[in-house]
């Protein structure tokens, strides 16, 4: 698993990466009540807003972790946003993307670095 400073995790699955938010982020957000996902096929650049997520407290944007193309989105979480709180690092992934450059993953934090980052 790789991690961004925006509290996203990335897991490599063949030639795509699965992206979601970390347990820590889900805890900080509080109860998630709304998720808006991008459309599959969307080309995205790093740090572009791709997902809107609203909790009982506030709206937040999830940014594209790297450059690439969204190839699949996890539609069930739109109907059941509470899954994001229940299983953010498993069932409640947000989207899968094909990276423009897989080696860009190397720039992201590994688990130890992320744990250190969130303190």
């Amino acid at each position: 698993m790789k991690y961004t400073e925006e509290h996203e995790w990335l897991r490599v699955e063949g030639d795509v990466v699965v992206v979601g938010i970390t347990n820590h982020a889900a805890e900080q957000l509080g109860d998630v009540v709304f998720v808006e996902l991008p459309e599959a096929g969307t080309e995205v650049s790093q740090d572009e807003e791709v997902v809107v997520i609203e909790s009982v407290k506030a709206a937040s944007d999830i940014l594209a972790p790297l450059d690439g193309e969204i190839v699949e989105v996890n539609s069930p979480i739109v109907d059941e946003p509470s899954k994001v709180n229940e299983d953010p690092e498993g069932e409640a992934w947000f989207f899968k993307m094909k990276l423009e450059d897989m080696s860009a993953l190397d720039e992201l934090m590994d688990e130890a670095a992320y744990k250190n980052f969130i303190g």
Binding site: G30, D31, F34, E36, V52, V56, K57, V78
Partner: protein
Amino acid sequence: MGDDLKTTVLNDLHVGLGAKMVPFAGYSMPVQYKAGVLKEHLHTRAAAGLFDVSHMGQVILRGPDVALALETLVPVSVAGLAENRQRYGFFTNDAGGIEDDLMIANRGDHLFVVVNAACKDADIAHMRATLEPRGITVDQINDRSLLALQGPQSEAALAALDPAVAGMKFMDVATVDLLGAACWVSRSGYTGEDGYEISVPNETAVALAEALLADERVEAIGLGARDSLRLEGGLCLYGHDIDTTTTPVAARLQWAIQKIRRTGGDREGGFPGADIILKELAEGAANARVGLRPEGRAPMREGVELFAEAEGGDPIGKVTSGGFGPTVGGPVAMGYVPTEKSEPGTVVYGELRGKRQPVQVAALPFVKPGFKR
């Protein structure tokens, strides 16, 4: 900065329960406990929730014709309030706007009022400046905490400490002995549920909170759920849904202005902004506070602009508070629209992230009140 925050007597209890503390109106207050906003909200509607509202201002007014004196500041019939009864009111200004909303209780030889935390210093200064010259003393009560117990099982939980509270009706007030302390209890609250507000001596506040929390029906509830509960209850949050620029008529609070204070009544007018407010009572206001149900799932929060059409045109109003309603199971909001657009069922459009989404004007409250009348 954080060091300047005041704390309530229950602070250690909150922290011990795992509360997330946030600054609110100059106080460090629990926004949520471990369960989180959603579960706390639903628990309150299903059973009973305990809220620390000790940051609010508690004030005793005492003196000759104190009710008539207070009537010079509020468009409410205070003199017509029976002993041991409470009613909702608001301080108005010369422009007909609202300076704060408050609860007024007739406790026999004095009035007991509760005002918002953020406004309490200004309210007390306002009352001192206007009421003291009339021989009224204005005493801020600092040696008492304020707890709210809300939800359908509040009666059973509080009656376990003193059965007398079960006999109280909505908006009754009484002095009740709880854990040996004389508590000033009202059957009221701000969640749309049955419940009580309890003014308790500081030295007994922690013990009382712990005794109530020991009841398995009762959970500690933070300000986050307090906000979603009052929003579903159609209740105004001062500084958001009502403020110095909104009149009581535009805010649809005219029910709180009794006939006797209106045109033709025995004690007509005589409060700040009476000319404007009485005129609006007769002729209506240009805008109206309404309930709003955004279509779809996206919450519309405070500040979202409302439009008459799906495209083009200038904003016709805006959302003044909004979010997700856990009991409703979807987004709910309140806001202001032109009066001709205020009929329930009317469709307006809220602009969210650059896109206009349909919003239906809805009757308030969003949930059926559980008051024990």
